[in-house]
């Protein structure tokens, strides 16, 4: 089991390293990687701690603005921009978490959603975010003042290195004693309390780590795409990351990777897919599919919640465990 997982990760990494030479558009793959990091960070909270934050857009979008500002207005180097964005995510996460863990369950989700909406309104009104236009043409600059990131290929490998490092950090966190306590809180909070764990501190720390890494994802996105916009702070981005995690598999390390790829591909390619279906089936209605991404997203949510709660990777892992169990007999 573990061997299969390691081999799969190895293949994935090799594929990602080779991707630019296999005809994949580097900027698109980088965008997917940013969302994959975002979803992994989110899953640390939802999948491993059992806290449904509905406000992660604030970390993604807020940090995107901070990085954009640092790079464009202050003209600092990219690594400082990323660090600033990550720190902003952590600080905002500290405030959100500190307020939200005062309430349990469904209230937690509503509070994070409301707080994120506040950040959205601030971003809409504040001067430094550029309002409706967002921050445009953010320069990539030179990494450490040395490596020019202007070329997509250089940028690609830097982004890959950052995302892989962050993923390893998340994997390490999940398997550490700290991660085990988080799982314990998720499974049975009263028992974790009775065992003497200061549950709220664990939750808060998990929240801050998740927010910081979401901030890193947002910062990287700004660096790669060269803009920061309102759509990243809007609550729909929070909904999107929930969907990615749910589709991929809650509480699995690989789930958010798969889920984010599926969701980003879907949103980018659904128009083409609709045109294709319309041509093959002759039903004209399909060609309007591209305009109804929202409805398709909604439908996936409904189907996932009702019939597919384990997600893609959750189902695969469950299947392999069942098979593995049988062969032992």
């Amino acid at each position: 089991m573990k061997k299969i997982a390691l081999i799969s990760y190895g293949i994935l990494l090799l594929a990602l390293i080779a991707a630019p030479f296999l005809g994949f558009y580097p900027v698109f793959v980088m965008k997917v990687m940013c969302f994959a990091l975002f979803a992994c960070a989110f899953n640390l909270l939802l999948g491993y701690t059992g806290l449904l934050s509905f406000g992660h857009a604030a970390f993604l979008g807020g940090s995107a603005y901070v990085t954009g500002h640092v790079l464009k207005v202050w003209g600092l180097t990219p690594e400082l921009g990323l660090i600033a964005g990550t720190l902003f995510g952590a600080a905002l996460g500290l405030v959100f978490g500190w307020l939200a863990i005062r309430r349990q369950g469904i209230y937690f989700s509503m509070i994070t959603l409301a707080l994120a909406q506040m950040v959205y309104f601030v971003a809409l009104q504040a001067k430094f975010t550029g309002g409706e236009d967002g921050l445009q043409s953010v320069p990539r600059g030179r990494l450490f003042g040395l490596i020019d990131l202007q070329s997509d290929l250089t940028m690609y490998y830097v982004a890959l290195a950052i995302v892989v490092a962050a993923f390893l950090l998340i994997a390490r966190t999940v398997h550490s004693p700290f991660g085990q306590v988080l799982k314990g809180i998720k499974e049975n909070e009263p028992r974790a309390i009775s065992l003497g764990y200061d549950v709220n501190r664990f939750k808060l720390l998990a929240f801050v780590i998740s927010a910081a890494l979401s901030g890193l994802a947002g910062s990287l996105k700004t660096l790669v795409l060269g803009f920061a916009s309102l759509s990243d702070v809007h609550w729909t981005a929070s909904g999107q990351v929930i969907l990615m995690t749910l589709v991929g598999g809650l509480g699995t390390l690989s789930g958010p990777l798969v889920g984010s790829a599926v969701v980003v591909l879907l949103e980018n390619k659904i128009g083409d897919f609709g045109t294709f279906l319309a041509r093959v089936t002759g039903v004209n209605w399909f060609s309007t599919l591209g305009e109804s991404v929202t409805m398709v997203t909604g439908l996936i949510f409904v189907v996932c919640v009702l019939a597919f709660r384990k997600g893609i990777m959750g189902e695969i892992i469950a299947f392999m465990e069942r098979r593995g169990g049988r062969s032992n007999h």
Partner: protein, 291 residues
């Protein structure tokens, strides 16, 4: 800072109008959550549906406002019953979060559907003739329609409060909220009660939508921002008390209206700021009774 009395009073009234919508919506959320343990994210979308149905009835069939004031909640209520029977009932035994996610999916479906027809631009709806114009009270001009919204909302809110707190049916409902299995053992059809409660809760949202049609620009996305504010209202008030939901909704609407006069920049965030304050001072909410 010079603020004229009429401007202040008119913002106060506008705040009361918005507060009425908050009150009706948070009331519906509280009733649904009490029995179903589901936070109905689709509440905003169903509010929008009430308004859009009203607009459609006028534009396609020339059915007037007063008919829709009854018909739209009925249609949306039936729609809610269908949703509950087909989808929601499968998830009651699961973690709360699945209820939120399922209704989020429904929201996207409903809003996406109306968006594919009407786009995102606003649709205009005229104030019904009987309520157009204004009363001149001497110290301020009181638009009839706004007064009507506040009065109608208050009547509906207090009728709901009365039905839940003072009647036999309400007693069943409250008992069902406390202990559904015991209530079922007394021979009451709890699943039916749950279905009708959801239908009633979303009908309230549609009623608010009809009231809002002439005063808020009708668009498929009109419910989105509103529902998030209503969530904050619910966090501030706590969902344990019907009266609490009503008072919190109205009060926050008024505060928001006053903020528009004194510090307009903060008018869109003031409810969230108050939520933060309440979380610091009284984490369970003003009327909350959870631990």
């Amino acid at each position: 800072m010079q603020i004229s009395m009429p401007a202040l009073l008119s913002q106060l009234l506008l705040g009361l109008v918005n507060g009425s919508f908050y009150a009706i919506l948070s009331l519906g959320l509280a009733v649904i959550f009490g029995l179903l343990n589901v936070i109905n994210f689709a509440h905003g979308a169903l509010f929008m549906m009430g308004a859009v149905l009203t607009w459609m009835a006028m534009n396609y069939f020339e059915i007037n406002y007063w008919v829709m004031l009854v018909a739209a909640p009925l249609i949306v209520g039936v729609f809610g019953v269908v949703i509950e029977r087909l989808l929601l009932r499968w998830i009651y035994k699961l973690d709360h979060l699945y209820g939120l996610l399922l209704t989020l999916g429904l929201t996207l479906l409903i809003e996406g559907f109306f968006r594919s027809i009407y786009g995102v631009s606003g649709l205009a709806y005229d104030v019904p003739d009987a309520l157009s114009g204004a009363f001149n009270l001497g110290f301020m001009i009181l638009p009839k329609y706004r007064a009507w919204v506040v009065v109608a909302s208050l009547i509906v809110c207090f009728a709901t409060w009365y039905a839940i707190e003072k009647t036999r049916l309400g007693a069943y409902l409250r008992a069902g909220t406390e202990n559904p299995r015991l209530v079922e053992a007394f021979g009451i059809n709890v699943p039916l009660m749950i279905t009708l409660t959801y239908g009633f809760g979303v009908a309230l949202a549609a009623f608010a939508g009809v009231l809002a049609a002439p005063v808020i620009q009708i668009s498929p996305l009109m419910g989105q921002n509103l529902i998030i504010i209503v969530f904050a209202v619910v966090v501030i008030g706590g969902m344990g008390s019907i009266m609490g939901a009503i008072l919190t909704g109205l009060g926050l609407g008024v505060i928001e209206g006053l903020t528009k006069v004194f510090y307009p920049e903060a008018s869109s965030t003031v409810v969230f700021l108050i939520m933060m304050l309440v979380l610091l001072v009284r984490p369970a909410g003003l009327f909350g009774n959870e631990k």
